[in-house]
């Protein structure tokens, strides 16, 4: 669901759809409990928020707390905010009631009073988040505070030593710190939303007067979209690969007809629009998305542009897959997904042809399709603002993902030259580092937990905060696996979480691997590490569950194939068990394994 489609939602459709979802929820969709704390009226937002939760694949169940009751609600451990366990808590506050003097009467405050008011406000917010974290690890979405559009000091506001604008900015900085400390929080930037909409479109004076609902429908839609992106990132539903057409998408014109020199791409209009678009594409790649081409052309013509045109922001090695031929795009998209080992619902397809995009939309509804409609000056922004690739971390792994996947293709083609798998694996010269999570690897570890859908035994989707808490409490082990071979360094690609709920027993609570290291027995090394860690804790029995999802069916036989016995049906799924001392790992001699995790606990 991209941003523009979200903005185009009509209230009546959102209300009708939300009503349908609540009245007769589709059986296969899981529930999503949203708790809402607020000191403004947010009721006008609820149809959009419910729609967003539905679009993310869940059935919304909303608890709307009373007006301006943040502290009592967050302190009530048995109250409706926490029972049933929330999936997200939305805190919509403005300074009107929270810090009225700063918001409405700043100039009457002395310097000391302004500081005291700001401190009091930040303390209030910090306690609210601390109270929440005492009771739940649910992710939290908050709002930052709006800078004044008509500053009280007029043209002096920017130069004055202290001002309402500075005070609000300091509050916003403080809020980000508090949110980072609490963990699992997303601060929606209202100033950025207002910058996009403009003040007149952002507010609704009439709703503010009649209902204390200060924002317009468009603003509520932007906020619902923020929530959608947050949920998508937390639940592994962000997209992973952008598939692009070439003619009239990456450049103006048709390369097969206009030739290398005739296509429009460069510093002047209209070529400049396409170059801007390419830069937006490249930026997505640097963020961690994969790029692919799907074009009906002679391959040589397109490659010539990629290799030789002086004004391209994208080159051959920007793309992890290329389907340049005269076949239909539906088949090619399916093959791209297979080659990259990702689901169709991880793809975004962009094409200037209405017919092509309609066909793909119909035949492959899981692919998100964007039709570029000829308004080329808008293309770059449409991509930059689409919100389809959002993630909660950005690390070296993300920046290099395009390159590591290209290396993957190289590995795959080498593999076909070996008839013996074992020989091939040894030839890779794989080197694994298994270590306990630390502050540097924590964001990437959480991102793995949130994004990995296929090789994921229990799909727990822990956040950074939850992993950190588990590690700190000493009640569990969080093991990370880093992979390197002679083609390159893939970084952190495996995660296992062990818990110790009883004496002498260990429980493998999470076990997941990036799909890019499948088929290489890396899972055997990670399992061995789990068993070793469990033994060090004095466990005699190690248990693990397989909880089936739509995407992880390849892991159903993981435990039985490795010497674990089924002890219980979980309906759905099953529990398995092995004796720690008697268990033997598979042959691990194709790896060099560094075992940092064996030191310390």
């Amino acid at each position: 669901m991209d941003f523009l489609s979200f903005l185009g939602l009509k209230l009546r459709d959102a209300v009708a759809e939300a009503g349908r979802l609540e009245a007769s929820p589709p059986g296969h969709l899981p529930p999503f409990h949203l708790g809402v704390l607020r000191n403004i009226s947010v009721e006008p937002a609820l149809p959009y928020v419910k729609w967003a939760i539905g679009a993310a694949g869940f059935v919304p169940a909303v608890y709307l707390a009373g007006y301006d009751s943040v502290l009592p609600e967050t302190l009530d451990a048995g109250g409706s905010l926490y029972v049933p366990e929330p999936d997200l808590i939305w805190i919509a506050l403005t300074l009107d009631l929270l810090a009225p003097k700063i918001q409405k009467d700043y100039l009457s405050l002395s310097g000391a009073e302004a500081v005291a008011e700001a401190d009091r406000t930040l303390e209030f917010l910090a306690s609210a988040l601390q109270n929440i974290r005492k009771n739940t690890w649910a992710p939290v979405m908050l709002h930052n505070f709006l800078e004044p559009v008509f500053p009280p000091l007029g043209i002096l506001e920017a130069r004055a030593e202290r001002s309402q604008t500075r005070a609000v900015r300091a509050l916003n900085d403080g809020l980000l710190k508090i949110a980072a400390e609490a963990g699992g929080c997303h601060v929606a930037d209202l100033n950025r939303i207002r910058a996009f909409l403009g003040h007149e479109r952002f507010i609704d004076r009439r709703m503010a007067a009649l209902a204390k609902a200060p924002y317009s429908g468009e603003t509520w839609k932007c906020l619902a979209h923020e929530m959608y992106k947050f949920i998508a990132a937390l639940r592994g539903r962000s997209r992973k690969c952008l598939v692009l057409d070439c003619d009239n998408t990456l450049w103006g014109g048709i390369v097969g007809e206009d030739g290398l020199a005739g296509i429009k791409l460069g510093q002047d209009y209209p070529g400049s629009c396409y170059l801007e678009f390419q830069r937006a594409v490249k930026s997505l790649r640097d963020r961690g998305a994969l790029l692919a081409l799907c074009s009906r052309n002679n391959e040589a013509d397109v490659l010539e542009v990629l290799d030789r045109h002086p004004d391209m922001a994208l080159r051959r090695d920007s793309f992890s897959a290329m389907k340049i031929d005269w076949r239909d795009k539906v088949s090619n998209l399916r093959e791209i997904a297979e080659e990259l080992n990702i689901g169709l619902d991880s793809l975004v397809f962009v094409d200037d042809s209405e017919a092509e995009t309609e066909l793909v939309r119909r035949m492959l509804p899981e692919v998100w399709t964007i039709w570029l409609d000829g308004k080329i000056t808008e293309y770059a922004e449409r991509l930059a603002g689409c919100g389809l690739f959002d993630s909660l971390a950005w690390s070296e792994e993300d920046r290099k993902r395009g390159d590591t996947v290209r290396a993957e293709v190289a590995r795959k083609s080498e593999a076909s030259a070996y008839s013996d798998v074992g020989e091939f694996l040894k030839s890779l010269k794989m080197s694994l580092e298994i270590f306990r999570v630390d502050e540097f690897s924590l964001p990437r570890a959480a991102q793995l937990a949130q994004r990995t859908n296929q090789f994921n035994l229990t799909t727990r989707r822990r956040t950074e905060g939850e992993l950190a808490a588990l590690k700190e409490s000493g009640e569990g082990d969080v093991l990370c696996l880093r992979y390197r071979d002679r083609f390159g360094d893939m970084g952190l690609v495996g995660l296992a979480v062990l818990r110790y709920p009883e004496e002498e027993a260990a429980y493998i609570d999470e076990f997941l691997l990036s799909c890019r290291v499948l088929g290489r027995r890396v899972e055997d090394a990670l399992l061995w590490a789990c068993m070793e860690a469990a033994k060090r804790r004095g466990a005699r029995t190690v248990r693990g569950d397989h909880l089936p999802t739509q995407k992880n069916s390849q892991t159903a036989e993981f435990f039985p194939a490795r010497g674990f016995l089924k002890t219980m049906d979980l309906n759905p799924g099953a529990r398995y068990e092995a004796d720690a001392a008697a268990w033997r790992p598979s042959n691990l001699d194709c790896f060099e394994i560094e075992t940092g995790f064996l030191e310390g606990a």
């Binding site: 009509k10 209230l11 009546r12 459709d13 209300v15 009708a16 009503g19 009721e43 006008p44 149809p47 009439r206 709703m207 007067a209 009649l210 209902a211 609902a213 429908g217």
Partner: protein, 79 residues
């Protein structure tokens, strides 16, 4: 006029979870269960989206039957 009335009935049906036939000229928050103060504001916003008009605070507060809604809207569209 009747096309406007039809469209208004359909929007009300979507918002109030009832069928358009159940909305007569005197339908109001007293006769339709889901026509509460929140949904009245939603109605205002949905009509603005559909017809490209803007209602004032007073108009919003005063158009409290189907007939009044349709009339206020028709006047806006004409003038």
């Amino acid at each position: 006029m009747s096309d406007i009335e039809r469209r208004v009935r359909e929007i009300m049906a979507d918002l109030f979870g009832i069928s358009p036939e159940e909305i007569d000229a005197q339908a109001s928050p007293d006769t339709i269960k889901k026509w509460d103060s929140l949904n009245h504001l939603n109605l205002t916003l949905a009509l603005e989206e559909e017809f490209g008009v803007t209602f004032t605070e007073d108009e919003t507060m005063e158009m409290l039957t189907f007939e009044l809604v349709a009339m206020t809207l028709a006047e806006k569209l004409a003038g």
